[in-house]
Amino acid sequence: MLERISKVLETLLEWILISLMIVLTIIVIVAVVYRKLDASLSWYDEVASITLAWVTYYGGALAALKRKHIGFDTLLLSIPMPLRMVATAVAEAFVLGFFLLLAWAGWEVLLVLEGDSLVSLTWVPVQLTQSVIPIGAALFIICDLLSFPSYWRMVARGVSLEHAEIEAEIEAEMKRR
């Protein structure tokens, strides 16, 4: 069940991320062409920056689902059992706590921004662009929880995430050839 939810969420986030990357690429390329034609697009900077923020948080949630965020696990894995698992649980609580705070703060900000719109595109409400913070934070929490059981097992077995990633990368490369 958990695996199925995880798979559905992964596919959904993947398509969101791909769409955002396509939009960002098109914006940047079109903007270069326009600038070279001496007709710079007034909305380019603002819209491209917002797209980057969306890539950050939707992509960040996806990376959390895959446990791809940069960390340092050498020390954690050298802690003797069962203390290591206590440390793992504490660390997880901190991560969840932060994103709960971010979701709440993001929501509060949205309430304040009621009625504001972008500078260059006045028909786009800032509430829409900034919604990425509470939504992104909530998604991060869900993804983190979904990937926690497998992370827990890896830590218990003393397997480094980084080494696992390296092995996976090499295997993928070998398969491609």
Partner: protein
């Protein structure tokens, strides 16, 4: 005292394997609560949003995407054939090819591990078959891949430029001469090994072969030509060059029918994820930056160090040692994001050029990728070669020595990295 507590919290969280981005953010929130209470916690959302909208960082997803698309096609193989045709006649030719290919390729996709895996999985088995020892093959692959950090396009350089508020274009240009010098040095060491262990020559130099492989490898040069040509010529900014590089990569891939929808999708996903990982770090650093500025830590630190010495060269030495130590424990991007905002006021006061310093930092962190415990590039190479990390390190020490010499040269003879910058920009 508050700053000390925040620092302890940060280190403790990182040691618990809380992602570094999240550790930074939590420590900053902790500092915010200690200094201003819980009343201003709403600003966390504002800072985390602002931090992720830094316009100049749009170059990162674009370069990563261009690299991932190029990676998906057969460009690596064609590049290896071409460089093999040029350098194969030298003793230890495969080692030379390995170094040459890394210069073009490594660090393009933003994930050092993915790039080393791509090059290493082709080169290392070939080298082993031709009688090169596994540790030597791994050491060559690892050290040359790290050197490539200072050759444009370089994600760590883009991040440095934003953190230190300096020009990414100039930093790219500054990396060129030291990168080529470093490559020549690595090839020199490889040659010495080749002579000593009687490693084979691949094939006689044949002009026809060079021409044939050059034509096949042409698309691989599109990326450096667009990036360097565009930036040197002042036609485009780094971000625009990155956008054009994506366009070129897609068109070339389509022409050679090597990039289909599935590969493009994978490239987009890899690019998006890599970008998100880096950007979350940047966003968290903005949150931390706000706290540090209010606490006046960078200025305080600058004053403390300046009260010990105001000798520019001594300070550069201290910073070099500091970054080398940091490089043992942190990935380059994380190290830049954590440390640069703190040391920038210091280098400004001492009168060190931020572009020059940026090159020193990135080169320094390239060396850090070769030193365990955090040494993803080295570990990946060892893993492909199936060689023990200590056996590899015993040989790698000579290659790292070359990188260290280039670092010292760039630090104390600024004209080496800055000559082209002066010529084109000042």
């Amino acid at each position: 005292m508050t700053v000390f507590l925040v620092f302890v919290a940060l280190v403790a969280l990182i040691c618990l394997n809380v992602p570094i981005a999240v550790s930074l953010a939590i420590a900053a929130v902790f500092g915010l609560i200690l200094t201003e209470g819980t009343g201003s916690l709403v600003t966390v959302a504002l800072d985390m949003y602002d931090g992720s909208t830094k316009f100049s960082l749009i170059a990162i997803p674009m370069f990563v995407l261009a690299g991932a698309i190029m990676n998906a096609g057969g460009i690596t193989d064609r590049l290896i054939n071409f460089i093999g045709a040029i350098m194969g006649f030298i003793r230890g030719g495969l080692a030379m090819v390995n170094i040459g290919v890394s210069l073009f390729f490594a660090e393009i996709s933003g994930s050092a591990v993915a790039d080393v895996a791509a090059i290493g999985s082709i080169m290392i088995p070939q080298m082993k078959r031709r009688g090169y020892s596994a540790p030597f093959s791994a050491a060559v692959t690892s050290s040359s891949a790290s050197l490539a950090i200072i050759i444009p396009p370089s994600i760590p350089m883009i991040i440095y430029a934003v953190s230190a508020n300096t020009s990414v274009e100039q930093l790219f240009v500054a990396g060129l001469v030291p990168g080529l010098l470093g490559a020549a040095g690595l090839m020199g060491v490889a040659y010495a090994f080749a002579v000593r262990y009687d490693l084979p020559v691949e094939k006689a130099f044949n002009f026809k072969e060079v021409r044939r492989t050059f034509v096949e490898a042409l698309p691989a040069f599109a990326l450096p030509v667009i990036i360097l040509g565009g930036i040197f010529g002042g036609f485009v900014t780094a971000t625009e060059a990155a956008g054009l590089a994506v366009l070129a990569a897609v068109l070339i891939g389509a022409w050679y029918r090597e990039v289909d929808f599935k590969r493009l999708k994978t490239a987009m996903l890899d690019g998006g994820k890599q970008t998100a990982v880096v950007m979350l770090l940047v966003a968290a650093s903005v949150l931390m930056g706000g706290f540090l500025t209010r606490a006046q830590l960078p200025q305080e630190l600058a004053q403390q160090l300046l009260s010990l010495t105001d000798n520019k060269y001594l300070i550069l030495l201290i910073l070099n040692v500091f970054f080398l130590v940091i490089g043992f424990f942190l990935h380059s991007v994380a190290a830049i994001i954590l440390v640069i905002p703190i040391v920038v006021p210091l280098i400004e006061q001492v009168g060190i050029d931020p572009v020059h310093f940026g090159l020193i930092v990135t080169l320094n962190l390239a060396i850090g990728q070769q030193t365990p415990p955090v040494a993803s590039v080295l570990i990946t190479s060892c893993s492909i070669a199936k060689a023990n990390i200590w056996d590899v390190s015993k040989i790698n020490i000579y290659f790292v020595g070359v990188l260290l010499m280039v670092l010292l040269l760039c630090t104390y003879v600024p004209v080496v990295p800055m000559f082209l910058v002066e010529l084109f920009y000042r």
